[in-house]
């Protein structure tokens, strides 16, 4: 149809959208571009080189930080997803629950508070009670602020899933846990997966809290990258960033593809 008559068409909006996407991806492209810069000074182009990738892949500190980040993120993701799943089950399936709104707010609390406040609060608490294990400190804090990110998609999926399925399962002689295992869980799996992915990424990405709680030997990836920026940037940082971007894109694409597939099936 000629757009002239299409009441849904707004001239100019398309252009803004193009510009928007350009702006969204330009910085990422720049980071990637300069990762191939041979020059030590990042933004002074002097030739193509992949030497910074070699350097990055040999950088023990980087690999150590990556290991720390992965350990923290995986553990926190598991904890946050379980906590969120259990809370979401209760909150979506019992409309008459006492303190329902309050409980929901509590689960979402980390979203409502500026992270810096939480970070400071955890720092004070941990130092007061002498909670010393660096990795454990990070895991506890990350589990807490990842929980709402895991919670939201799970709850959305549960809320979008008719309670009829659970009732049908029970009607067909499934005891409550069997009904959960064989019907509810498989059906909300995409939500659980999306929630877990989100939690994982949020944890991997966290800077403020990790920087506050960070102790010797438990530097996380963002904190390490920050220290690189502080120290003086070389294209090695771009190379690291590029690798990180690639990893994120792969994870994100996987996550979205899996949940899209589940959506189509559901």
């Amino acid at each position: 149809m000629s757009t002239q008559h299409d009441v849904r068409h707004y001239p100019g909006a398309g252009l803004v959208t193009w510009a928007f996407f350009l702006w969204l991806y330009a910085p990422i492209a720049v980071v990637i571009w300069f990762s191939f810069n041979e020059n030590r000074l990042v933004s002074v182009w002097s030739g193509f080189s992949t030497k910074w990738y070699a350097a990055a892949l040999e950088n023990d500190a980087l690999l150590g930080a990556l290991r720390t980040s992965l350990t923290v993120a995986v553990t926190a993701t598991v904890v946050a997803t379980l906590v969120a799943l259990s809370a979401a089950m209760v909150l979506t399936r019992h409309a008459d629950l006492k303190f329902r709104r309050l409980s929901e707010t509590v689960v979402n609390l980390p979203l409502l508070l500026p992270e810096i406040v939480i970070a400071v609060a955890s720092l004070i608490l941990f130092s007061q009670i002498g909670f010393t294990n660096g990795l454990a400190r990070l895991i506890v804090a990350h589990s807490a602020f990842c929980t709402p990110f895991a919670f939201l998609p799970i709850r959305a999926r549960l809320a979008g899933m008719s309670a009829d399925y659970e009732e049908a399962a029970q009607d067909l002689y499934a005891a409550p846990f069997t009904a959960f295992r064989r019907v509810t869980f498989p059906l909300i799996l995409p939500g659980v997966f999306a929630g877990a992915m989100l939690a994982f990424v949020i944890s991997m990405d966290d800077f403020i809290t990790s920087n506050m709680l960070n102790t010797g030997g438990t530097t996380t990836l963002p904190v390490y990258i920050f220290s690189l920026i502080k120290k003086g940037t070389t294209p090695e940082l771009n190379a690291i960033s590029t690798l990180l971007i690639l990893a994120s894109l792969i994870i994100a694409t996987l996550a979205l593809a899996i949940s899209a597939r589940a959506m189509r099936r559901g």
Partner: protein, 318 residues
């Protein structure tokens, strides 16, 4: 086996030495960097820092000792102690040498980019009361520590003054400079001054030397009012998990051969014995390390004086 967590000035320990130490002992070494003594102190104060070795400057060593933040490692009985130049033994910050072994010493001053600034660099006035050429192209460190000291040298105010009127002059000077300051940052200085993003930067002798030798057209100033002196030492935080490894590392770093490698890498002066034959720097190729003006070491201030320093800085930055 085991791990050793270092918290040192950013990019200060030679990676080759770390590798060598790891190979020799089987200990895994993690290195985190800080860019101000304040940061190091804060980390230790927050408790359970997780670090085994930290390298604060002299006045902060004193504060840390007083605050009970350091492990008594019987430094004077360590092999490393024997390597220390006598003039750095039993100093005021660690009178009985129980806690610390020196790592490096040097000065804090300022560096100019000679592509952008052609004028003289013989006085702090160039930096604190910049002319048109430097306006808006100056960068200070992010923490008050040595910056306030330099301002005091320029104004003739004694370090750790408890006199409010004197400290107000310091404040007024820095306040007046602020409009011309592009950044207060201790991070990424090398790029900022090297690439000419700013034309003058508060900085340290060795760092400036190293960047100049990497090809940047910069010059470390020798202001007639003097430079701020510092000496960073290895210390072990209280409750460190791996004190033995920490001491082994300190001893290792102080061995003459290693100290020489470290000297060449770090480009700051060494307080421990080095093999001069293998040392890279001489007064000819490294004037930065051989100041021609007086050097005054930072002091550990009384709480009252420290409050004033803090006040200068917070008033300045808010």
């Amino acid at each position: 086996g085991g791990t050793l967590n270092l918290y040192t000035w950013s990019d200060s320990i030679s990676p080759d030495l770390i590798k060598k130490f790891e190979e020799k002992t089987g200990i895994t070494v993690n290195v985190d960097g800080f860019n101000s003594n304040e940061d190091a102190l804060t980390k230790l104060q927050a408790g359970s820092s997780g670090y085994d070795v930290v390298t604060p400057s002299q006045h902060f060593v004193k504060i840390m000792i007083e605050q009970g933040l350091l492990e008594d490692i019987d430094a004077k009985d360590m092999p490393a102690f024997a390597q220390v130049d006598d003039k750095w033994k039993n100093q005021w910050w660690d009178p009985t040498s129980e806690y610390s072994i020196p790592l490096a010493y040097g000065t804090a001053g300022f560096t100019v980019n000679r592509d952008l600034y052609k004028g003289p660099v013989d006085s702090w006035s160039v930096f604190f009361t910049p002319g048109a050429e430097l306006k808006g192209k100056i960068a200070d460190l992010a923490a008050p520590d040595e910056v306030v000291g330099a301002a005091e040298l320029f104004l003739g105010v004694p370090f750790c003054s408890e006199d409010k009127a004197e400290m107000k002059k310091v404040y007024d000077l820095l306040k007046a400079q602020k409009p011309d300051v592009a950044a207060y940052s201790s991070d990424n200085i090398e790029n900022r001054i090297g690439s000419g993003e700013v034309a003058a930067h508060f900085w340290w002798d060795g760092n400036s030397l190293k960047t100049r030798r990497d090809g940047a057209n910069i010059e470390y100033a020798m202001p007639k009012e003097g430079l701020v002196g510092w000496l960073d030492s290895f210390v072990v935080p209280k409750g460190a998990a791996n004190v033995e490894a920490a001491k082994a590392f300190i001893d290792f770093m102080s061995e003459e051969e290693n100290a020489t490698v470290q000297y060449n890498y770090y480009a700051h002066s060494s307080p421990v014995k080095i093999d001069l034959a293998k040392a890279d720097y001489t007064p000819e190729n490294a004037p930065e390390l051989f100041p021609t003006v007086p050097v005054t070491f930072s002091q550990a201030c009384s709480p009252a004086a420290q409050d004033l320093v803090t006040k200068v800085w917070t008033d300045l930055l808010k």
